[in-house]
Symmetry: C2
Subunit: 153 residues, 2 copies
Amino acid sequence: MNMRGTQPIVPALEHATHAVALWIDRVFGDTFNDPRLTEAEVNVLAYLVRHAPCSINDLHRSFGHKRSTLTSLVDRLEGRGWVRRGPHPTSRRLVLLHLTDTGQPVAEHVRAVLDALEARVSARTGSSDLAAYRRVLRALEEELAHDPPPQPI
Amino acid sequence: MNMRGTQPIVPALEHATHAVALWIDRVFGDTFNDPRLTEAEVNVLAYLVRHAPCSINDLHRSFGHKRSTLTSLVDRLEGRGWVRRGPHPTSRRLVLLHLTDTGQPVAEHVRAVLDALEARVSARTGSSDLAAYRRVLRALEEELAHDPPPQPI
DNA sequence: TATTGTTATACTCTATAACTATA
DNA sequence: TATAGTTATAGAGTATAACAATA
């Protein structure tokens, strides 16, 4: 069985993820320093612009961070006065996250920078490549979910 | 300017990366426990099967980890007896990493599991989608390298 | 019983910087 | 001067588990 053509999907993913993290630190480190914005915080802020109020579980499903990680992340955003926790109208075990008046423009700025990046990538690749990109990631995650037990060594 | 069709490239990347990390822990946690294999270690072992002997800087370029992170990662692999550091034949400031006789089958096992995953994804998506996937990641990284200063908030 | 969220510990990875030794 | 690698510190993310409150 010829493996050529089956080139590394996962290493490419790792490399791009590292590059995104470095870029986020470079781009937002100077704007919101002390402390700097982390990649996870940037993604959450941008998400909140579109989806607030939402629960911590929504963030968990959207990005894959541990819920315990998100607890401390939200703690940090709340400590900066950008986010507040509030009750859910119908379920009392859900926490709803809101952007504060202080946090709203910060999150919109972050959202705009990310949108601009995505627009530049989109313009370079075209919508057909982007659709294929999403199909590959979806297929990857579905295969990961199959969870095949490895043959013991 | 219509932003529809410019869907989130970066969050999809983050989500897939987290899913890969969880899968690696699930798949290799039982095989090589105490301590468990981390995602970075798995990727490095699989890389060494194909590219050893290679330098730490090769790993740095391939995956994007900090060189300081790779120092301690190689320390761990060396502590397990799977990898050894050796001299470079011509440059004395390069360290060459080798798989040991103990590490070789471990790395080959890891390599085989990763290859099987990639083969399944490849079979689902087809080579044209995979090529598009790589084009999008390459375009993303090139745009990240442009490093546009964000408009101040 | 299962789910949401919090708390806690240990370990890995990152951000940073200083440092050496080599090129 | 620049590069390859190591060392060190602080903070962020993960693996894990326990826990309370709620569905």
